[in-house]
Symmetry: C2
Subunit: 148 residues, 2 copies
DNA sequence: CATAAATGATTGCACACGCAACTATGCCGC
DNA sequence: GCGGCATAGTTGCGTGTGCAATCATTTATG
């Protein structure tokens, strides 16, 4: 068993750690956001991503990449948020196939409510993961990759 | 805006990076495993976790934690794998509430087929992520946390 | 120009998931 | 032993998701 086999095992180990930490954080966020502001994690991700965009509008495809969701799931996700009045569809003039989504005022207001819930829950989840020997190294590594 | 606010933003940034990388890898693994050996990522995770256990048996609850799945999802996941003959339920004598799951010979055989698919796909996904500026730091950090 | 290929987004369908309620077994204090 | 409580696992139900097929619009090709 040579060096190549070791690197395979190291990669798998890193992936398991990544998946475990992701599952822990997402589970905590899901519970906190749904019970407090009635938003799932992906729904929050959409609102948050929109709020970071210039002019607060994005194409469907960008939303799909931002949320790691399929096109069909993206469509229905936007449907749900639009029916709740949190965002609006705006078809862009230059390419009439494309559709922009924009945050509405209620959407921005709900996001303002959701952000502290999200941030505090994330902090609690990370401190919780920090106490697990398997996850601690990854938790410590996260803040170091802010700047390239 | 002081130091505290910065750390909140740094945490959120790290979480977005983690989620993005997780989504990319899981998507690649899902496609590769389903098309080649007809296994989802969680199903592979179960078989892999079982193969790492002494005696190849685990309780349902352990499987739930290993896969970040709810109890109900764990039950039905084991149902699917049992119906395919890849594992068997074995109720343990000391605590008759608990149920052990064991890999069968076909389960081990299928896992042997699936592992190279999994490993090669993981490597491709990581090199792919390595070329994305926002994901590269995390990809590079992963191998460093094997031992801590 | 007309027609084919490509792209953005949506719908039909089957399925995996979480939550809440439920059953069954184990663990107490009395 | 016996009621009360906790724990392990399973089921009913509603819902979010991916895949494949589809429609609409843009771009390329003859």
């Amino acid at each position: 068993m040579g060096i190549a086999d070791d690197s395979v095992e190291i990669r798998s180990q890193g992936w398991r750690t990544l998946a475990a930490l992701h599952g822990l954080i997402e589970g905590e966020l899901e519970r906190a956001l749904t019970s407090n502001v009635n938003l799932s994690v992906v729904e929050y991700t959409v609102l948050d991503a929109l709020s970071r965009q210039h002019g607060w509008h994005m194409r469907m495809q960008q939303l799909g990449r931002a949320t790691a969701l399929s096109p069909s799931a993206t469509t229905r996700l936007v449907n749900r948020l639009e029916e709740r009045g949190l965002l609006t569809r705006v078809l862009c003039a230059d390419d009439r196939r494309g559709i922009y989504t924009e945050l509405t005022a209620p959407g921005q207001a709900l996001l303002a409510d959701a952000r502290p819930v999200h941030d505090e829950t994330l902090e609690r989840a990370l401190t919780q993961a920090r106490d697990m020997p398997e996850l601690a190294p990854l938790v410590d590594a996260l803040p170091t990759l802010t700047r390239a």
